[in-house]
Each structure stands twice: as C-alpha cells, then as structure tokens.
Symmetry: C2
C-alpha cells in the first residue's frame, strides 16, 4: 500500500460505491471521496467520460502512485484491488474462485434486481417510472427474491459466503442486501440473512452506508 493514495469517485446513495468504502474501512486504508449526483447526469459530462470513466458510471477508484494516476471502474474490481494480499481474499485456489463466483452472482442475479428496485422505488419514485420500467417491476421482484432466497439458504448453513470469515463476497452482497427494504423486499422473510447482516455490522472497523 505504501506510496499510494486513493480517491473514490462516487454517488453517496450508491451501495456499489459503499462496497469500496466498507472494504477500505475494514482494512484501515485511507480513502478520499469525490461526490457526483447520478440523477443530475454528473457522471455523463464530457470531462468525466474523458478523464474518469468512458462508461459514464460510478464508482471509479482513482489510484495515485509510482505509476502515475490510474482509474479503475467496477465496484467489485476496485474492492479486489484494495484487498489484494489481505485477509479479505482467500489464497486457496478453490476458495478464491468461489468468492469470485458470489461476486459475479451479485452483479448478474442480485444487483440488477435488488439494487434497481431500490433505486426506482426509493429514489426515482414509482409514479415517475417509464412504462417500460413499470413492465419490469414484477420480473425484478421475483428475480430479486430468488437471489435473496439463494443467499438465505447458503447462510442458514454457513456464517460467511466463503470459508470461516468475511471476504469480498460478503461485502459485495451486503451492500444492497442490507438496504433491500428500500426496494420493498421483506428481509424478515430471510432470517439467516438478518443474522449475517448483524455479524457484519458488528465487525471492528465497520462503517455504515449513510
């Protein structure tokens, strides 16, 4: 970590951005923050696209060090960079791949449903959704509940997603799961998830989303 400085380009309401803050906090790494409002299009300006991320999205981790300034988009990749060589990434070959398995599951099966319904219902407002968005509400509800059910079944038998302690898989899945109620998911239906949330919130160094 020596000689590196980190700036998180973020929207404070985004739990994808929060994953990176939580990773840094659990590892005791200093992290500066630069805020954008995605609802005002602040990550689609020409300067942002040219300098920070051509994909027009946050989070982006800016890394200043001996190799100059570099930008790393994608929340789970930024967590991987920060946690490289730490206890948050298992070294066993299968466990490492299994951790990534849950992180890809998070981006493919969980985030597009659990996070999108939170954004649509709690931040855009159901009355402001387009017809195309309204047409997806039921499918996203059911896919989000399936993702939460799969997590709950796993956590009924294991304290953590991989191995005997917290890894990036837990951080990635915690981010939008613990605020799933804002998307009108009912966490009381998933008791093992609720116990796992309490375990994470009790960790030394834990920081909250807000």
């Amino acid at each position: 970590m020596h000689g590196q400085a980190f700036v998180l380009h973020e929207d404070p309401i985004s739990a994808n951005c929060y994953k990176i803050r939580l990773t840094a906090a659990l590892l005791g790494l200093p992290l500066s923050r630069r805020a954008y409002d995605i609802r005002k299009g602040e990550t689609r300006t020409p300067e942002f696209l040219a300098r920070v991320n051509a994909n027009g999205r946050i989070p982006v981790l800016e890394i200043a060090g001996a190799s100059g300034i570099r930008f790393l988009p994608e929340s789970n990749a930024a967590c991987w960079y920060l946690a490289s060589g730490s206890r948050l990434i298992p070294t066993d070959r299968f466990a490492q791949a299994d951790m990534l398995r849950w992180m890809f599951f998070e981006q493919y099966n969980h985030e597009p449903n659990v996070a999108t319904l939170r954004f649509w219902l709690a931040y855009i407002g159901e009355e402001n959704l387009s017809e195309a968005q309204k047409g997806q509400l039921d499918a996203k509800r059911s896919a989000g509940e399936a993702a939460l059910r799969l997590m709950d079944e796993h956590l009924a038998k294991h304290d953590w997603f991989v191995g005997q302690g917290i890894t990036l898989a837990d951080i990635a899945l915690f981010a939008y799961t613990h605020v799933a109620g804002e998307g009108r998911f009912v966490l009381d239906d998933f008791p093992a998830i609720k116990r796992w949330i309490s375990r994470i919130e009790a960790l030394p160094g834990f920081v909250a989303l807000n």
Copy 2:
C-alpha cells in the same frame, strides 16, 4: 493441475459455457462435457438443483480431486479457477484488477443485452417473446450497442483488453461478442472488434463455439 479432473455442465448453445471450453483449450487442459437443454428446463430439475447448482443455471464446473468433488457455478469464476497461475491471469496488481473490471463489465453491461438479444431472437424467436420481453428490446439494443462501442474504442488503441496478450477479459468478452450478429448487432460497425476477433481466432489451441 495434477490429480484433478474437470467436467463442464453446459448447454452447447450457451456462450457462457463456451468461455470455459475456450479457456481450457488455450491452456491445453482436458475437460469432459455433460450437456443440458436449458429450453427444456433440464437445469431446473430437483437433482440438478440439489447436486450441481441451487441457482438452476449452467455453466457449472465440476472439479474432482484430492478434496473430493466440488461444483463451481458462474462462467467467469470457473475460468478464473482453470486459469489460476497461468499466463491468462496477469500477476501485476493493477492489471489483475483491471482484468476483473472487464469481466464484471461483461456480466453487467454486455451479457444481459448482447447475449439476451441473441437468445431471444435466434433461439426463442421474436414472435414467441412475452409482452414484457418485447418491451425491453429497444433498451437492450441500445445498451448492447453502447457496450460494443466502449469495447471498440478500447480496442482501437489496444490489441488486448489488458496488457500485451490474451487474458480472461478477452475470453469473457469474446464469447458473446463474436456471435452478436445472431442478436442482430452489426459487427461491421465496430472495426476494432472485428480485428480483435480475428486475433483470437488465430491463437494456437483456439476452439470454435460450434
């Protein structure tokens, strides 16, 4: 790799499954194959859910070795397992995270658009889509084209997604990109992507999807 045997649980039409076959072929690793037809629900049977993947999806990499038989879902995680310690994963800290960045981009921005339109249009048939699916065609078209454009801009300046040779980022993105025409994307609009496809197809050990 000593003492391990690999079985890929797959649907031969799935390019997510093909990523794993291509990774194994480029590394010269033997891989057995067990086929399922996702259109007939063969990955949602009670046996499959109990033994292979509770998420009801393929691909799943079955790994038999000293630790017994283990199952690894998620295409990109299975590629990571197979390629662990090989030239397909850079060891530099930033390059490794940057490779994962493109693999998460693939699962979040590329696959749900480029792969889904291919499946809907070439395998389900536009006339058989539900109203909810038809309502998503335009959004998926435009998001898929944005993903391809971002790739094309990167490849106009770089031969490979990360560093000076092929990595798992190229394999993950190649899988659905090279058959994007089946989803009515026009690859002639993306000349740098077309040159990159030719580079991959010319690699020693390359195997085709079909």
